[in-house]
């Protein structure tokens, strides 16, 4: 047995020596002028994709289009990085991977002077939206990315009410304050708003609580996804939202609601039981009367004559009947006048980055910057990049509505021809295109509507990067926060347990996180 082990070990060593040296030998592709191009996309492009060929001809280049599956983005990409294969240009998925790319020297540093000279239109575009963005793509004083923004995220999650239920229980205006909301919730529970003679309705479930009700106390304890902590600004400093004393008040109220049966007892399993995260099965099935789980476009009713409305709208109408209605209200205003629903925020840390091999190839970098500039600022090119060619892949109606032809509708189908989001830079386009004649009639109307119904008060996390100790402490704190909040709401632990949580939070790295968060915050303030 001992001999066996010794022999096996020596074989292992031999194997290691055999292939160990190959760890880092070849680059992604020999530099023959081909651009290794990677963007988010819903599927791979064909070898002879027409949109790809069009851009190759237009810019006199060759593209090697990478395709990385979204659900395994980091896994797949990092294996290729480890093998020395780095795309020339690619987007960052998160602030933490952005930081990692920099730490490990995978992406090249950029300079404003260079960008202003080689890509003035791009610089203009970023500045037109918000020059602050550059700060968030700068780490330790060095710029690494062309910032991108998410325009829709300037609006907060919608507060959706069953307004037919409100009428049925004798409330004729959509609740605006927390008190009014509470009254409505109690009536939803106790006065049979759906008129089926059974006490089977509730006020709200988990999304309404976490994305909206907490906001009436000034903070949201966690982000939309339910996993990461939220950070807020208080007296010019960043603070961890979930340990603020206001949250204890909020939990006291929620615990009362839970005991009174106002909160759907199944909120622990979640009101979104399957499918896309923005859906609320509990709401469309008539179990709860209030939710805050979707962006305006997730819950939009039909905007124009041939618009069918969002899938949320269609599901709701199908399941609750044509006479059932919902309306969008404002985030409820709390006792101290505070309010706010979750908001993603338009700016993020990261953006479009360039593989470090380009540092020795300024000409190639210049070419790529030019391609990005042109596609991002020239509307006709932009349209090709998203939809392909008129007549071939889509038709245009008189009012400008684009009707995609059969076979070029879904993200995967568009990717096949090189369209979709392969050449269309996420979050790099003139901001007016979202709302002026460049926008599609339906989404133009949706934005108008969003301005009206989801622009009251949004709460976004003010910490946009992962701080250094984040990976070390956050897993423990996240878990502790989630269980503590649940235990207090359901009464498994008394309200005063909140103070214990704050202590535990401090002990388990909370203060360190706060210190580091503020160090970062000072660099962008």
């Amino acid at each position: 047995m001992k001999k066996t082990i010794a022999f096996v070990l020596s074989l292992v060593m031999a194997g290691s020596l055999m292939l160990g040296g190959c760890g880092k030998t070849t680059g992604g592709s020999a530099d023959n002028g081909t651009i290794d191009w990677l963007m988010f996309s819903n599927g791979p492009a064909d070898e002879d994709a027409p949109v790809k060929q069009y851009f190759e001809e237009k810019f006199g280049v060759k593209f090697n289009l990478w395709y990385i599956e979204r659900s395994k983005w980091d896994d797949l990409l990092s294996v290729r990085f480890a093998a020395g294969e780095i795309p020339d240009v690619f987007p960052t998925m998160s602030s933490s991977s952005f930081r990692k790319y920099i730490e490990q020297g995978l992406i090249m540093p950029l300079s404003m002077e260079m960008l202003e000279e080689d890509a003035p239109k791009l610089v203009q575009l970023v500045n037109d939206y918000d020059p602050e963005q550059w700060k968030y793509s700068t780490i330790d004083g060095q710029l690494y990315a062309i910032p991108t923004y998410n325009y829709a995220n300037k609006y907060h999650i919608a507060s959706v009410w069953r307004d037919d239920w409100l009428k049925n229980v004798g409330i004729d205006k959509i609740p605006e304050t927390l008190d009014e909301a509470e009254e409505a919730f109690y009536k939803f529970r106790n006065e049979d708003p759906d008129g089926n003679g059974e006490k089977d309705t509730y006020g709200l479930s988990d999304k309404g609580i976490y994305n909206s009700i907490f906001g009436a106390f000034g903070y949201l304890p966690r982000d939309m996804g339910g996993t990461a902590a939220m950070w807020a600004e208080k007296d010019g400093k960043l603070v961890y939202s979930a340990v603020q004393p206001e949250m204890k008040e909020a939990l006291t109220l929620l615990n009362k609601w839970y005991n009174d049966g106002i909160i759907d007892p199944e909120f622990l399993a979640g009101e979104n039981t399957s499918g896309h995260w923005s859906n609320s099965q509990a709401f469309v099935n008539g179990r709860i009367g209030y939710t805050a789980n979707g962006m305006f476009y997730h819950i939009a009713p039909p905007m124009t004559e041939d618009d069918t409305g969002s899938s949320f709208y269609r599901d709701f109408k199908k399941l609750q009947g044509e006479n059932a209605t919902y309306a969008v209200g404002r985030p409820p205003i709390g006792p101290d006048g505070k309010s706010g629903n979750f908001k993603g925020g338009t700016i993020s840390s990261g953006g479009i980055v360039f593989g470090n091999q380009l540092a020795d190839n300024p000409e190639k970098l210049k070419t790529i910057l030019n391609i990005i500039s042109e596609i991002s600022t020239d509307y006709d090119l932009n349209l090709v990049s998203t939809n392909g060619f008129e007549g071939e892949h889509y038709d245009k109606k008189e009012d400008g509505t684009i009707i995609a032809k059969e076979g070029f509708q879904t993200g995967a189908e568009l990717s096949k021809i090189g369209a979709g989001s392969i050449f269309n830079m996420n979050g790099l386009r003139p901001v007016q295109w979202y709302t002026d004649e460049h926008a599609q009639p339906v989404s133009r109307e949706q934005y108008k509507w969003a301005e009206e119904v989801t622009n009251y008060s949004g709460i976004d996390s003010k910490l946009l990067v992962e701080v250094e100790s984040g990976p070390k402490y956050n897993t423990v704190l996240d878990k502790m926060r989630e269980t503590t909040y649940i235990q207090i709401i359901t009464g498994e632990k008394p309200i005063d347990y909140f103070d214990e949580w704050v202590e535990e939070w401090k002990k388990n790295g909370g203060e360190q996180l706060e210190k580091e968060a503020n160090e970062w915050y000072n660099t962008v303030k």
Binding site: M18, S78, A82, K100, E266, T475, K479
Partner: protein, 319 residues
Amino acid sequence: MAAITKNAELGSGKKTGKAQQLLKTYKKQRYLLLALLPGLIYYLVFHYAPMYGVIIAFKRFNFNAGIMGSAWVGLENFKTFLGSPDFGSVFANTLIISFYQLLFGFPAPILLAIMLNEVRNMAFKKTVQTISYLPHFLSWVVLAGIFLELLSPSRGAVNYFITLLGGEPIDFMTNNKWFRAVLVVTNIWKEIGWSSIVYLAAVSNIDTQLYEAATIDGASRIKQIRHITLPSMVPIITIMLIFAVGKIINDNFDQIYNMYRPAVYPSADVISTYVYRMGVQKMEYSLATAVGLFKNVISLVLVLSTNAIAKRLGEYGLW
């Protein structure tokens, strides 16, 4: 000096003798060795050649430096994981859940195979076999949604029957008292048919004359199962058990990740889900490798000890 030379010669002479004998054995067994060869080459190329990657566990992996070039950090990755305040609870949860899975999940397919073996109607037998193996093909992502509906306190079929019998509805999916049971039962439900196939294969080798003789002797069906069916399954049960014990440290990530909610973290947060949330998805290669190595070493120890016990009890171990 001369003596030493002589001794050396003697030694080598002895060695030559041994080597010759070995050579003879090789020659005699050349067909067996030939049969072994393709497999050995496979293992060398696809397992032993890349095995140097294990050292990532002791390094801070850097993409630019590669595996060999990354800096050594000793046991730091292990410390990060083992030193986490939640390590104790996730480790305990892993062992408890896996132990239940072993205790109830291991015998279930054996029982099914025995029951199927007793079915005399071939069409019925094949139908049951085929249907019971179907759930294996559904992923936990899909099944989690289905179980959420089935076990819902307000609309689930299970709770409907509980209330019909006069009980109170149970919040299976979010209750720390029940959730582990849910994990075990749903896993059995998914895999029972699939896992029973290998036992059915073993049973199908039994000489039917044995049953006929036993029936003539007046042995009851239960007796036949005990004295004919079960003994013939022992070899396969043994080896399956050895591996099942080795897997105690491996939790079923896909199942738990898709089914759990923050409410049941206290009872169901296990090593793999915890490490996943710790940021393995954020390219923490070194940490992931360290955790994998940690689990595998424990697993190896478990397998070796079970094997030793099995060897002592019978002849069908790994070695």
